[in-house]
């Protein structure tokens, strides 16, 4: 049986969702080991591959041109893309600057320019097609487990 090929990617945020994923592994590691092939997860491994993924789980909002390009690349390499956590789903709380007044915008402008930040911090769905969402800040453990197990069924792994 082919394992489900997954990748876990992080954009602008605090990586609380990938940490939550590592906590889920406390009780799911041995069960999922034979079912899930974690091909990309920089928090876990050095040699990462993003080609031919079944499911890409993506945390974080998109805040720069580089990130926008990267998330499109991920989209091209996966069959399903799922937003995990509030930043990826609606941009918040990584989008504080979208609500800054003029004075604050002036303060941060040089940094924004230097790092080619987008005008606004946006959720994934504004850049790429998103197939599903796991809500929460950080993402809710049970919702993620349910979501991954549904994908295992959908891709015929179990």
């Amino acid at each position: 049986m082919q394992r489900l090929k997954v990748g876990i990617f992080s954009f602008t945020g605090d990586e609380g969702c990938v940490i939550t994923f590592l906590e889920i592994l406390n009780y799911k590691f041995f069960e999922w080991r034979d079912l899930v092939d974690i091909r990309y997860c920089k928090t876990l491994k050095s040699k990462n591959r993003m080609e031919g993924l079944d499911v890409a789980f993506v945390e974080g909002a998109i805040s720069s041109e580089k990130e926008a390009k990267r998330v499109k690349e991920i989209r091209r390499n996966c069959r399903k893309l799922i937003s995990i956590g509030s930043c990826a789903i609606d941009g918040s709380p990584s989008n504080h600057r979208n609500f800054f007044d003029k004075a604050r915008m002036k303060e941060i402008r040089p940094v924004m320019k230097k790092f080619r930040h987008l005008k606004k911090v946006v959720p994934l769905k504004d850049i790429v097609k998103v197939d599903g969402e796991v809500p929460g800040c950080p993402m809710l453990e049970d919702a993620f487990v349910k979501c991954l197990e549904a994908e295992l069924k959908e891709f015929g792994v179990v």
Binding site: D14, L25, K42, L44
Partner: protein
């Protein structure tokens, strides 16, 4: 040699301005998913000091437990998932074979006990909900405490095995340096004066003077200096400065490993982290066994124009919060000094020294050695563990 850290800016320095003092700790908790409990606790302490809020002895103990849960979970994650593959010569814990099966079991067992302790005290391991300015909205019941003690006792053996592995690891990178950190009498990461191995001791009441000298306003992750020199914070610093304050049960079981300290071998940071896990387990057991927690009344806070400083030890080193509030209790200014920023200067010079010693070696080997050394520091940045792209010039 330049160490360039790329991280996506979320502009928290600007974002916290205008936020009300009661909600501020939840806002800053989102700065870091890894050590959110540290930001939550440190910010809460800064708010309380600013507003003149006295916390109860019980709250102080619960904070210690919250930080212990964080230390167990975070150090275990770093040591088992990030450092252990280096020691075993594997790319990741996912590649561990049958002979390393026990280690994978231990990894998730130890990590989950830390996670459960965090859940018990602050409600969740990431972005806790029970902690608030002045106290906790929920406290552990007697039954909760009893179960937690059992779980904690159940990982002592695994943690001692971990300490032995870190002790037997022969990785070495030695260079003299100044170490800085909080040195609490009970090694609780929460309070005490700031000490340095160069002999400086700064009492609590001088924190803000000290910080003003250290802080670079609106810095973009620029480094920090202590007495105009590079310095290192984190587990190794804490162990070098304060090992005598470890819990008696910890000292009893790891006496022979403690002889390694004081040490200027950067890889001993990992041994120090493992010992801190055991201390966190032992002191948590003592607190949970000796104390019956009761629901306390919410502390009323009257907002006023004020400022305050909070200092704690986060897993990766000293964390400083300096906050100024206006008369309605909204933040006017906030300055945060995070451990990884403090270690940046010395980490860069260590890499420089390491590379000089490796000139002529294969590029892949140099890249791996640099990554390994950076990992020993346990830096907290986007993909702290596997991130190095070397631009050869």
């Amino acid at each position: 040699m330049k160490l360039k850290i790329s991280e996506n800016k979320r502009f928290y320095t600007q974002a916290i301005r205008g936020k009300e003092f009661g909600t501020l700790p939840y806002v800053v908790s989102r700065i870091c998913g890894t050590c959110s409990v540290a930001h939550l606790t440190c910010c809460t302490e800064a708010v309380e000091k600013a507003m003149g809020v006295e916390i109860s002895e019980q709250t102080r103990l619960l904070r210690k437990l919250a930080l212990y849960g964080l230390m167990i979970r975070d150090h275990a994650m770093h040591l088992y998932l990030f450092v252990m593959p280096d020691i075993m010569g594997k790319d990741s814990v996912l590649d561990f074979d049958e002979s390393q099966h026990k280690l994978v079991h231990d990894a998730f067992k130890v990590k989950s006990v830390g996670n459960d302790l965090s859940k018990l005290i602050v409600g969740r391991a990431v972005h806790g909900i029970y902690s608030q300015v002045g106290g906790y909205t929920k406290v552990p019941t007697k039954d909760d405490a009893r179960k937690m003690v059992k779980q904690l006792k159940g990982i002592r053996g695994e943690v001692i095995d971990l300490i032995e592995i870190m002790n037997d690891c022969d990785f070495k990178f030695e260079r003299a340096r100044n170490f800085v950190g909080l040195a609490p009498k009970d090694f609780s990461f929460l309070e005490g004066s700031i000490k340095s191995s160069s002999g400086v001791e700064i009492p609590e009441e001088n924190y803000s003077d000290y910080l003003k000298r250290m802080i670079i306003p609106y810095s973009q992750a620029t480094g920090f200096e202590f007495q105009r020199n590079e310095f290192m914070v984190g587990a190794l610093a804490r162990m070098n400065l304060n090992k005598q304050s470890l819990h008696r049960d910890t000292k009893k079981d790891v006496r022979k490993f403690l002889k390694a300290f004081p040490s200027s071998n950067v890889y001993h940071n990992n041994l120090a982290q493992a010992i801190e896990v055991l201390h966190s387990v032992d002191h948590s057991i003592e607190i949970l066994q000796s104390r019956a927690f009761k629901q306390e009344n919410k502390v009323e806070v009257k907002p006023k124009e004020c400022e305050g400083v909070g200092v704690i030890e986060a897993p990766r080193g000293t964390l400083y919060y300096w906050l100024i509030f206006d008369k309605s209790g909204n933040a006017k200014y906030g300055n945060l000094v995070i451990p990884t920023a403090q270690n940046q200067v010395i980490m860069a010079s260590d890499i420089k020294a390491l590379v000089q010693g490796l000139i002529g070696e294969d590029k892949e080997r140099i890249r791996m050695e640099i990554e390994k050394l950076i990992r020993a520091y346990d830096p907290c940045m986007s993909c702290a563990t596997h991130f190095l792209k070397v631009n050869w010039v």
